[in-house]
């Protein structure tokens, strides 16, 4: 049985793309062929062949070890989404003192302080607009237990974000001041009522405020705090 020549042609176009030889006409032709053949524009066999060859060239000249601080940073930043069972994934195992927290994003129906009812040691604060916020009008509260080094944030009105473009990032200010702010990790919002547990990777000493910024999807090590959202100043219960 003779193969559809369109398949061969699509493979040629994929090969062009994988080797940097695709032009606008090729893109249009590939789109048309994919539509006709019902093939997705996902990773394809030519991409993988070029990828494997790229790995071969790189190995050939010897691999450079990834810097240890970068490995730690990657481990600390890759987001983990918890399941609805609320089982918290113990993501951070790194011993590095500078490691940051991963915040597991949990979507819960209803905005309620009930989960903290039996936690008398929590201190609470309400979210308010930060100076010149990029997003205004976010409401809800943060509850924090210094002894347990954990807490929760509740939000309403936090706009839905596109995780491939930007994500919300939690920062914690403690007795060490603004310059020593602690990264609490990244999280997403579906635009509804959102609850986000807080589990900092390094010890918070006298939490004073929690602040939300918008950052790159992979998170940042140091933020310029230019894309501000909300801030919550803590007060003892």
């Amino acid at each position: 049985m003779k193969m559809d020549p369109s398949i061969d042609r699509l493979e040629e176009l994929w090969a062009d793309r994988a080797t940097g030889g695709e032009d606008a006409a090729d893109v249009a032709e590939a789109r048309q062929l994919r539509r006709r053949l019902g093939v997705s524009d996902d990773l394809n066999c030519m991409d993988f062949a070029a990828g494997q060859l790229g790995a071969g060239f790189t190995h050939e000249l010897g691999l450079e070890a990834m810097p240890a601080h970068l490995e730690r940073s990657i481990m600390a930043r890759v987001p983990v989404r918890a399941t609805r069972s609320m089982k918290l994934v113990p993501w951070l195992i790194t011993a590095a003192a500078a490691s940051i927290a991963i915040v597991l994003t949990l979507k819960q129906p209803g905005l309620s302080a009930e989960p903290f009812a039996d936690q008398g040691q929590f201190v609470r604060a309400s979210w308010a607009d930060w100076d010149s916020p990029e997003v205004a009008g976010v409401r809800g509260e943060v509850a924090w237990c210094e002894d347990a080094q954990s807490g929760y944030m509740l939000f309403t009105g936090l706009p839905v974000n596109d995780p491939s473009k930007d994500r919300y990032h939690l920062w914690i200010f403690d007795s060490r001041g603004m310059s020593q702010r602690i990264s609490g990790g990244v999280f997403d919002s579906d635009g509804g009522e959102v609850k986000v547990p807080i589990h900092p990777g390094i010890r918070v000493c006298g939490a004073q405020a929690f602040a939300i910024t918008i950052e790159r999807p992979e998170g940042v090590w140091v933020s310029d705090m230019s894309r501000r959202v909300s801030i919550a100043q803590l007060a003892s219960k």
């Binding site: 493979e11 040629e12 090969a15 062009d16 994988a18 080797t19 940097g20 030889g21 996902d42 990773l43 066999c45 030519m46 991409d47 993988f48 062949a49 070029a50 990828g51 494997q52 060859l53 790229g54 790995a55 071969g56 060239f57 790189t58 190995h59 050939e60 000249l61 010897g62 691999l63 450079e64 070890a65 990834m66 810097p67 970068l70 490995e71 940073s73 990657i74 481990m75 930043r77 890759v78 987001p79 983990v80 989404r81 994934v89 113990p90 993501w91 195992i93 999807p217 992979e218 998170g219």
Partner: protein
């Protein structure tokens, strides 16, 4: 059958991601370093690559590609995107083209001894079975990231010839990589 590493990453096993960074960190870092990015850019793009891997590993199919090929493919895409975003492509490619011209790129540099990943070794073994023109064009394209136009300018080959060598070379390579062991009797077709 036990799950592969990337399949475990797809299941969001934290320890699998740790193993993934340990196993592929050097490859990702080296790909970024060799793309002409600054150290800071290499760090940023490495973060992006592993972040993406965490998200896309559910699309990994061991019947379609090896894990090294999958990781390297994701990494190459991200690195190329980064180069374009930075607007560095023009400068980097000009430099790479000059380097390609200076080196001639007539053949592969000698391999260094030591352990290399199985998939990388297989790729290089298959690569040596391509014609010298196909090797030359693919090395300039895949290793240096040059477009077909720049390869044509750099080598003096007509653009159509460059395209044909790249296309046929990669298709042949893919065929060889699909075999259990590349057959050296198929040399240079």
């Amino acid at each position: 059958m036990p799950l592969t590493l990337l399949q475990r990453v797809a299941k969001k096993e934290p320890e699998a991601m740790r193993e993934c960074v340990a196993r592929f960190g050097g490859l990702v870092w080296s790909l970024a370093r060799r793309a002409g990015l600054t150290e800071s850019e290499c760090e940023d793009v490495s973060q992006e690559i592993f972040s993406e891997l965490w998200s896309v590993c559910s699309r990994y199919d061991p019947d379609v590609a090896g894990e090294t090929a999958f990781v390297a493919t994701i990494a190459r895409r991200r690195i190329i995107d980064r180069q374009r975003r930075l607007g560095a492509q023009r400068g980097m490619i000009a430099g790479a083209a000059a380097q390609a011209q200076a080196n001639g790129y007539e053949g592969a540099p000698p391999s260094k001894p030591g352990e290399v990943a199985e998939e990388a070794t297989k790729a290089m073994k298959a690569f040596t079975l391509l014609s010298s023109d196909q090797q030359r064009v693919l090395r300039m394209s895949v290793e240096l990231g040059l477009t077909h136009e720049l390869i044509a300018k750099s080598t003096g080959m007509p653009l159509g010839t460059v395209k044909t060598h790249a296309r046929r070379g990669l298709m042949k390579l893919r065929e060889l990589l699909g075999e259990d062991e590349p057959d050296s009797s198929e040399v240079n077709r």
